[in-house]
Symmetry: C2
Subunit: 316 residues, 2 copies
């Protein structure tokens, strides 16, 4: 059994990754979390060595890595909201960078053979001109929020520790991923949660932001398989775009979700949601990764939306 460590294991992607790693039966799993409330996301907490750990605490992080000495390490913990990062750019940076440096320095001191997945984001590409669509790994960076720049810094810190310290780092740039357990700060979860609430008789009108943007949505359960393949098979130092290779207009997603509900739903624009929103199209070219691993997304968008809606229907 390989020793696998997941930071942020009780988060959205982390909890699905835990499900997947346990399901394969190939991993001895440990994970860090920050907030007890998030542990409800875990289906099999008893099968995971869970550690409450603030990754900003350098000594505690090193102690944990020294104790665990993982073979593979998925570094997922981060502040993940582009929108919130406008209000707290410094906090977003200091959190995302310091946590990653603490982890990389701990691995450097204790077990340099550990393979580490650094999770960047398609947000690094930001404002993409249409001639750069679909977006491959060489597209220029035009980040449009502080979160995106913090991910760009995590991304190139990963490359730098590979180049200068020979750490076994693989980087991924996931495009939007969605599914059950995602925070309602993100658009599809926000829609699904509101529909579930309206079905329960709580309010009648959905609040939405701009609907014209196009995003490349992948089911989180497909995404965590890609993370596992990337870490096990990726070229050290290399970076891989991960996504579906198809973009959906937000309005299209909204219509699909509305059709999944039996109740009549009215939609209203919420001015606060218009701030910092855009009309960009993000569309992923994941051919570099597909060529290496054969991976491609398998879960249809309809199932993702249905499962997300059902998730919110089951929340009290």
């Amino acid at each position: 059994m390989k020793k696998a460590l997941v930071t942020g294991i009780s988060g959205f992607a982390g909890s699905h990754l835990a499900d997947y790693l346990l399901q394969t039966g190939q991993y001895d799993l440990s994970g860090t979390y920050l907030d007890e409330n998030s542990l409800k996301n875990l289906n099999n907490p008893a099968k995971i060595r869970l550690q409450k750990l603030n990754l900003l605490d350098e000594d505690a992080t090193e102690e944990f890595i020294r104790k665990e000495k993982p073979d593979i390490l998925f570094h997922l913990a981060a502040l993940t909201s582009p929108r919130n990062s406008f209000d707290s750019p410094k906090e977003t940076f200091i959190n995302n960078i310091s946590a990653q440096i603490n982890i990389l320095e701990s691995v450097k001191k204790n077990k340099t053979e550990t393979r580490i997945l650094v999770v960047s984001s398609a947000e690094v590409y930001g404002l993409v001109s249409s001639e750069n669509l679909p977006i491959d790994e060489d597209a220029p960076f035009n980040p449009t929020n502080p979160y995106a720049v913090s991910k760009l810094a995590q991304d190139f810190l990963g490359l730098q520790y590979y180049l200068s310290d020979k750490l076994k780092i693989v980087r991924v740039r996931p495009f939007n991923h969605v599914g059950p357990r995602q925070s309602p700060r993100f658009v599809i979860s926000a829609f699904a949660k509101q529909i579930a609430e309206i079905e329960r008789g709580k309010g009648k009108i959905m609040k939405v932001g701009k609907l014209a943007a196009r995003r490349d949505f992948t089911d989180v359960r497909d995404m965590v398989k890609a993370y596992t393949l990337a870490l096990n098979m990726g070229e050290l130092g290399d970076v891989y775009n991960l996504g579906r290779g198809r973009s959906y207009r937000i309005s299209e997603i909204l219509e699909m979700l509305k059709k999944m509900s039996s109740v009549k739903i009215s939609v209203e624009t919420e001015p606060a949601l218009l701030k910092h929103s855009d009309d960009r199209e993000l569309l992923c070219d994941f051919s570099r990764f597909e060529k290496l691993t054969g991976w491609k997304p398998e879960i249809p968008i309809e199932k993702t939306l249905q499962d997300t809606l059902d998730y919110w229907r089951n929340q009290v």
Copy 2:
């Protein structure tokens, strides 16, 4: 008179920029510094509104920007040593990013018309393959030290505040610049300082690191003219490589400096200096900037080396 503000005005580049701005007679100059000892670098302190200011202090930074409301702002203050950044990666990041965010947020709140120069570094290109020489602005990023990644983050934070907040930001990526007042943590200053010491009878043997690398060295006095042109004429949001367009082998520089001294100088390799050193060639393509402004470096390398050596000869 334009109101110009220089952060880090008593530093190496900052003090030369102050000399230049005052010499043009076109600027009402203010500047921030952190350490009283560095004020000796300033030729005309009485002509500058000097403010001791820790740019990590958000409130004090905003108060200063609100009071000054500069027309143009050169943000030079930073931790600048690639070598030191290996020992303090988090400090390098938090310092360089937080200071810049405090400045950009202060400008955003108080005077969005301020034109701001964000100073990145050629170090963002890092490990450049020979087919990418000379290095233009589209060369890939392969940073090899934490300082380089902190500069990459400053660079793209500048672009991001331009894209999302319409701040009037111009970015530059200076290649190595050298001259009087540079810290002896940097190679040419380290050589010149040791030669001056040997001439004074202090020791006989120069300690050197690897001599095979090639770097593109520009006189700091040419560089600060380029900064001024970049800020006044640069396209908002754009980025410009600044350098000489010629690279010198470190061993070649060493030979030139040794010839400028009357004493016989022996050279010895210092193991500590070999750590984190490399054989890279950095060579600047500054045609984008030359086309826009007509700037090119004017001071020959021999004068730069002579002035640097004389600077150290005059330090007691």
